[in-house]
């Protein structure tokens, strides 16, 4: 099955906003999505990502800004007139309709001829590998199968845009990985333009062409998974990307990309993520796997090991600096709890943000 070439190039959000009374759930969301792109809206719960999706779907009205398909403004359209497909968090399959009828629902609403509906539904069933289940009711399917039906129902209408609202959050861990691969496969085959809402950075990193990080209803950063993972632009994005160790202090020196932050009794060097000058307060953030036991090499951070545990390939430990800052580190050998060791931090992988 191929997506009929929809006559559009991009979908554009132009300062889209939504407020509930005094609360601004979405503020000036601007984004343009190219045809065929897979966009993940990533953020913690309450960041506005679901609100954004519902606004795009038309299930919530916007209170400012516009939504365009090329130059056609669609934010005043009713949801049924936008022609999108959507996969809901709890699937929202029609319990009284067979799998076949569920998938064919959108085509039937568009009054397509029966023969066309049948062939398209068959193709969609094959795409999600549910050929044998067509006449079953959703209640007779497993969670993963229900999810496939929901996906088939959304893409069978060949929509310019498919919206997915945390589609994997109701599945158990193993099934989640399986369905993630499935969604990637279907996307590679169909090239359907997709907006995918999730709070799980692994999902976003593995699926998306571009990730949009939302916080408090505003966009914090837009970038490819690689850009976001390696160079988060703000501290909160970094925290979301696994930068769990943080040292607050002041910038004492800066040379090009490299800056040194003094945090109490010691100082650490890192790469500047935001423009910072000596004297400004800053936070240096680094992932636990970029902090290792330095085994006496100079320039390490002196810490006391509090706990250490074996994780199979390596050890993971918790240590505390003399100033009481907790650090999580990785090591290739054990260190006795209570012992004083020094940790080295890779300056190329540590990022310095404005505090």
């Amino acid at each position: 099955m191929q997506l009929a070439s929809m006559p559009f190039n991009e979908i554009r959000l132009d300062r889209m906003s939504r407020s509930f009374g005094a609360l601004n759930a979405l503020r000036d969301i601007s984004l343009s999505i190219k045809k065929g792109e897979f966009i993940a809206l990533l953020g913690p719960s309450g960041c506005g990502k679901s609100t954004a999706l519902n606004c795009i779907a038309g299930l919530l009205s916007t209170t400012g800004g516009g939504i365009y398909i090329d130059d056609k403004r669609i934010d005043q359209f009713k949801p049924e007139d936008r022609g999108f497909g959507m996969v809901f968090q709890n699937y929202a399959l029609f319990p009284h309709m067979s799998v076949r009828k569920n998938i064919g629902f959108g085509l039937k609403m568009r009054s397509r001829p029966k023969a066309e509906i049948d062939t398209k539904v068959d193709e969609a069933l094959a795409l999600v590998r549910l050929q044998g289940q067509a006449e079953k009711l959703p209640g007779q399917l497993s969670g993963g199968q229900q999810q496939r039906v929901a996906i088939a129902r959304a893409i069978v209408i060949e929509p310019p845009l498919v919206l997915m609202d945390e589609p994997l959050s109701n599945l158990d861990a193993k099934l989640r990985l399986e369905m993630r691969a499935e969604i990637r496969r279907i996307h590679n085959q169909m090239k359907a333009t997709t907006i995918y809402v999730t709070h799980d950075q692994d999902e976003a990193l593995s699926l998306a062409d571009r990730i949009v990080v939302l916080r408090d209803g505003a966009i914090r950063q837009v970038g490819t998974p690689h850009e976001l993972y390696e160079r988060p632009a703000h501290l909160d994005v970094a925290e979301f990307m696994g930068f769990r160790n943080r040292f607050a202090g002041k910038v004492v020196s800066r040379q090009g990309e490299r800056a040194t932050v003094s945090a109490g009794s010691f100082s650490v060097s890192g790469t500047v993520a935001e423009d910072l000058q000596p004297g400004e307060s800053a936070v240096l953030a680094v992932r636990p796997d970029d902090v290792t036991l330095s085994d006496g090499a100079p320039g390490g951070v002196p810490v006391t090991v509090e706990a250490i545990e074996y994780r199979g390939r390596e050890y993971v430990g918790i240590a505390r600096t003399p100033d009481g800052v907790e650090i999580i580190f990785h090591a290739d050998h054990a260190a006795a709890p209570g012992s004083t060791v020094s940790l080295s931090i890779d300056p190329a992988r540590a990022l310095v943000f404005a505090a």
Binding site: G58, L59, S61, K78, P79
Partner: protein, 281 residues
Amino acid sequence: MIRDTTIGAKLWITAVWAITIFFVLNVLAIIATVIVSSLGTRWLGTWLPNAFTLNWYASAWQEFQLGPVLFVTFQIAFTVVALSGLLGVTAAYAMARRDFPGKKLVMFLFLLPLLVPPITFGIPLATVLYQFNVGGTFWGVVLANLVPTVPFVILVMIPFIEQIDPKVEAAARVFGAGTFKLFVHVLMPMLIPGILASLLLVLVRTVAMFELTFLTAGPTSQTLVVSLYYAVFASGVRAVQSIDAMAVIYMVSTLVWLLVALRFVNPTQIVARGNQSSNAH
């Protein structure tokens, strides 16, 4: 929700609300008529009575012997409440906690008295009660009223008991509580809100139950609503305002309990409880 701003949709919404408001206005007006009339001196061919008075309440109290009638009414109602609570809660506990052969049949047995209207089963019931010489007595009325209230308590309490984790009971047993102590010290405190709500509704139902009481009551076991029926039936004998005063007293004696009950339950549940379980089979 999905907004719809076309003119057709707006017209439709307006029409639906207009019907709803019209209905509610009429209900309120019917109730208000009774209240206004009971307070009026003379009310003939005008919007409102000529003057207002409280005298009709005194005369209704005298004429219809409302003192004894109210006493009997609440005697009956509280007896029904106590007995249906005792029978209903214990049965609901067994129904909620055990799966036994024939459970569906027992459930159906409990549903029937709620589904068959009182007047249909009331006539054969009254016949039997008169046969056993309890017809026309206090206990005859109580027995008849228990027929729908026991199943009602059971059906309200089953989901309420089901939501209590059986592990709490298991824990109590492990720490040495026997069945009786378990009931008194562990289950009762947790079930109090549900029991209270269901029994208040039983109280309302019994005070307002006309058909069964009408069919089984004798002169000394009439409740207020049956006396009211006879008064309206024989209207022309007494002044309308006096009957209306009695009607207001009846309203107060029902609505007080309803208002208390509504603190615990949603109005929708009052009608919907019984058949949610009937829907399940």
